[in-house]
């Protein structure tokens, strides 16, 4: 697993990769017995596409969660970003750059708003981002009857559908974003400060970290990731879609992926590599159940149980480590 080499050497391999390998192995076996094929190219491509969308959001979500915050507005922001991008492009290849720029700018603006509400106005992140989500929802509901805009054909062809072997371009984008986020956390002052703010805001503040600025930046980065996910979805769908974020449950699923990846919900511990593992795990479960034609509702039950169980395992580990 390439993500593994990204881990700082002193941390153990997050359990999520073990779980991922086991899931894929057992799932592949069961699917094979069932007469199917999990590692069929089409299946793998589909899996990686699903992972790319959720992954981009979840990597951003990791940054705010590591910083001790949370973003529940991402689902609406993703929809908004698809619309901004697709409407600006309106089918013209020439408008790709301005469209991407505008979508990311709008996203950064929403992130800034989230960040300021959390830091300057001292609103709990849960409520603040929920409120911002409602603001965006109102805007989307009021302004859009349905899909709008047309994504530039080049973007659809490349980011939306291009792949190298079984690996879609979008997944490579996710890998690149993940690597950048990992690098940011491990090798920049901002990253060190973010982990510190999440670990103990008071300690960070007294050590001279500008907590507010760090958290606002994290929120902006998270929103940028959501915006990027929106641009990807716009390329995938060929248009802007006002409900794609909420239908995809990107808010809760991204948080689930983050905690599956071993990041502490309270902040201060974790990383993006684990998150990608979490995303792949969720996508694999999806793919396996798809192959077995398991009822979608039953799948949801399993998913809920897996999330709880995984975090329980992490909690046990943390407890043991705390005792040692």
């Amino acid at each position: 697993m390439s993500a593994q080499s990204l881990l700082p050497a002193r941390w153990p391999v997050p359990g999520v990769f073990v779980a991922l390998v086991l899931t894929v192995a057992i799932g592949g076996l069961v699917v094979a017995v069932d007469g199917g094929q999990l590692f069929h190219q089409a299946t793998v491509v589909s899996l990686l596409h699903v992972a790319a969308g959720l992954g981009l959001v979840a990597v951003g979500q990791t940054l705010v969660i590591v910083g001790g915050s949370l973003d529940l507005s991402v689902a609406y922001l993703i929809s908004l970003s698809t619309l901004v991008a697709a409407e600006t492009m309106n089918g013209s290849d020439g408008a790709v750059l301005p469209a991407v720029g505008l979508a990311l700018t709008v996203s950064a603006g929403v992130g800034l708003l989230n960040g300021l509400l959390v830091t300057r106005f001292r609103i709990n992140a849960f409520i603040a981002t929920l409120g911002v989500g409602l603001l965006l929802k109102g805007y989307l509901d009021n302004g859009y009857d349905g899909p709008a805009g047309v994504t530039a054909p080049t973007l659809v062809r490349t980011l939306g559908y291009q792949r190298i072997g079984p690996v879609p371009l979008s997944f490579l984008l996710l890998v690149a974003v993940t690597a950048a986020a990992w690098f940011t956390l491990a090798r920049t002052r901002f990253g060190h400060h973010l982990v510190a703010v999440g670990g103990d805001p008071e300690v960070a503040r007294l050590s001279g970290v500008r907590n507010d600025r760090v958290l606002v930046t994290a929120h902006v980065l998270c929103s940028l990731c959501a915006g990027l996910a929106g641009i990807y979805l716009a390329s995938r769908l060929g248009a802007g879609a006002p409900r794609v974020g909420t239908e995809g449950l990107y808010d809760l699923e991204s948080i689930a992926a983050v905690v599956l990846g071993g990041t502490a919900l309270a902040g201060g511990r974790g990383g993006v590599a684990g998150t990608v593992g979490g995303v792949l795990l969720l996508a694999s479960i999806d793919a396996i159940f798809n192959q077995l034609e398991v009822d979608a509702f039953f799948k949801q039950v399993i998913r809920g149980a897996v999330i709880i169980a995984a975090v329980a395992v992490y909690a046990r580990r943390a407890l043991r480590r705390g005792r040692s």
């Binding site: 409602l134 109102g138 689930a256």
Partner: protein, 326 residues
């Protein structure tokens, strides 16, 4: 606040963080706005029916209060309400005789889900956000799975009475919805529980679990009980809501966020340790009044979430800015 008043304070009157003043002020303004637009809202029959229909969310907020003040979250209540309504319809299937057994069963189910949430959170040390998020997925998935994606059966008229009917011909007030009676009884009970030793120590648990543990509080037990209370509140809300509007998969959708928002509006601190159950219930009432107000003022359906979001952010920001820095 519910602390027993000690000797009068020599200092200027303080707006205590977590006190009822801010939420009362907001509620007051909304009432004035209603009065300006729709004076007959305050006529007894319409006021009674408004209070009756607000009962479920107020009770959910009361249940959520106990969980939040102890430092946890319950994101599963919305799905629990849906699940309960669907289960009730399928089990009763129009048979009046099954009403009471099913009501008892629902209360039991609510308590059981709360117990599971509580035990996973306290004993397995899974953050409650995750526990109840997982429970949310499990409940929604399970109830859809069990009912093949569409609710089946029907609620009996006896069952629906609690949420839909009223005591008629009451002097002065006209009619009092059963839901309002349930609300008054359980609301009073919630205040009593919050003021009891359990309720007071629960706040201490939310504030500082270590100290509470070392003072002989069984922290895990308190928190688990809080989840059970929330589960039972969800069961009652499901009975009232199912009665009010019949069975549907939408019965509980989004109620967890509504309840948490209401609790926060009511001055309860997320993360625990501060706030009152009365505030939480008033917060829910405010939220319901806001929705009615938007109906009265004809705020466009699509814009409502924006108005709601902005008002919540403003209210919370202003009350947060008043509390002293740590």
């Amino acid at each position: 606040m519910m602390t027993v008043q000690s000797r009068p304070l020599p200092m200027r009157p303080r707006v205590r963080p977590g006190g009822l003043l801010p939420i009362l002020a907001i509620l007051g303004v909304l009432l004035v706005l209603v009065a300006v637009r729709q004076p007959d809202f305050f006529a007894p029959p319409s006021l009674m029916s408004f209070l009756g229909r607000s009962a479920p969310i107020i009770l959910l907020a009361a249940g959520q209060y106990f969980v939040i003040v102890s430092g946890e979250f319950d994101l599963s209540i919305g799905s629990l309400v849906t699940a309960q309504a669907v289960i009730a319809a399928r089990l009763i299937d129009g048979e009046p005789a099954r009403t009471w057994p099913v009501v008892l069963l629902l209360l039991g189910c609510g308590a059981l889900v709360g117990l599971v949430n509580g035990l996973i959170t306290t004993r397995l040390r899974v953050p409650s956000f995750i526990t109840t998020l997982g429970m949310f997925l499990i409940l929604v998935g399970a109830v859809y799975y069990w009912s093949d994606g569409a609710p089946k059966g029907a609620l009996s008229e006896e069952f629906r009475r609690f949420g839909r009917r009223a005591v008629e011909d009451v002097p002065l007030l006209g009619r009092i919805p059963y839901a309002l009676l349930v609300l008054l009884a359980l609301g009073a009970l919630a205040v009593l529980v919050a003021r009891s030793d359990f309720g007071r120590t629960l706040v201490a648990v939310g504030d500082n679990p270590r100290t509470a543990e070392l003072s002989g509080v069984r922290v895990w037990r308190h928190r688990t009980i809080a989840f059970v209370l929330s589960g039972v509140a969800a069961a009652v809300a499901a009975i009232l809501l199912g009665g009010y509007s019949g069975v549907s998969f939408q019965a509980g959708a989004g109620l967890e966020f509504a309840a948490i928002t209401a609790v926060v509006l009511g001055g309860v601190a997320l993360g625990g340790g501060r706030g009152s159950v009365a505030g939480a219930m008033l917060g829910a009432l405010t939220l319901e009044l806001l929705l009615a107000l938007m109906n009265f003022y004809g705020v466009s359906g699509a814009l409502r979430s924006t108005v709601q979001g902005a008002i919540i952010l403003l209210a919370v920001a202003l009350s947060a800015s008043r509390s002293p820095s740590r």
